[in-house]
């Protein structure tokens, strides 16, 4: 759906991508494209993915996060996940991605 959004703000080497809505297979492609376009423009040291406005996420979101860690590594950056709500935190814990190099998940 077109109402799945991502808003950007940046400064001091950080690019914040704030995702709003649900992250599933249907919405992930557009999110991926938008985040990558912005990330390659800004080339931040830290790519922050703010999930505070994400009410639902599935494994498509996990693949999205892993993929952005690889993208950020291309210009020497890292990814930080912030604002994950309870169900999203549970998914992140289950998937074990917290152990990936170049990724931190804020409590």
């Amino acid at each position: 759906m077109e109402n799945e959004r991502v808003a950007f703000s940046h400064g001091e080497g950080r690019l914040v991508a704030r995702i709003c809505g649900e992250v599933d297979h249907h919405t992930a492609r557009l999110l991926r494209e938008r985040i990558d376009r912005e990330a390659f423009l800004v080339r931040p040291r830290v790519l922050v993915i703010d999930l505070s406005a994400v009410g639902f996420m599935d494994s498509s979101g996990i693949a999205l996060i892993i993929g952005r860690v690889e993208v950020a590594a291309e210009f020497g950056g890292v990814v930080q996940i912030t604002g994950a709500t309870q169900p999203v935190k549970k998914l992140i814990r289950l998937s074990g991605i917290e152990r990936i190099q170049g990724l931190t998940v804020s409590p």
Partner: protein
């Protein structure tokens, strides 16, 4: 003996738009059992994984325009049990045990991570997978809700 309280059958075209539709339908259906917020989230996620697998994998070799459907059959029982069966008539899975192992994926690199079955298993009390190559796949999800919350 457990008794069926309610049943629901859905047939949806295998399209990504219907992933959200399936989640919403199942969560509306189980509302009668008063699930906790966490239980409802677990069910939505498990159903989303199974339905997404139909959309992404089951019909991957089907020609454009050929019919492709996802069949969902849900039941709730008086012992607070929920069962949701998600079926397709797609390509089937050759080795189910391998497919269920974490990180295994035939999906596109960067799009899939091979965690769907792992997630379903962690969020449900029972996950069974029946599949026949060339015929299709049926995933059964079963979850027992807590008795902690009731509306009396």
């Amino acid at each position: 003996m457990k008794r069926i309280i309610n049943e629901m059958k859905l047939r949806l075209p295998s399209r990504s738009e219907n992933e959200g539709v399936a989640r919403s339908a199942v969560s509306a259906f189980v509302a009668e059992l008063n699930p906790t917020v966490e239980e409802l989230g677990d069910l939505r996620l498990a159903v989303s994984e199974a339905v997404t697998n139909c959309v992404v994998h089951a019909y991957r070799d089907r020609e454009e325009g050929a019919p492709a459907f996802i069949y969902i059959s849900a039941r709730i029982y008086d012992n607070k049990e929920v069962s949701v069966e998600i079926s397709d008539n797609g390509c089937g899975i050759e080795n189910v045990e391998l497919a269920r192992s974490p990180r295994y994926t035939t999906g596109e690199y960067g799009e899939r991570c091979g965690m769907g079955f792992l997630i379903m298993e962690n969020l449900c009390d029972l996950v069974t997978v029946k599949s026949r190559v060339g015929r299709g796949t049926t995933v059964l999800l079963r979850k027992y809700l807590s008795h902690g919350r009731c509306d009396e």
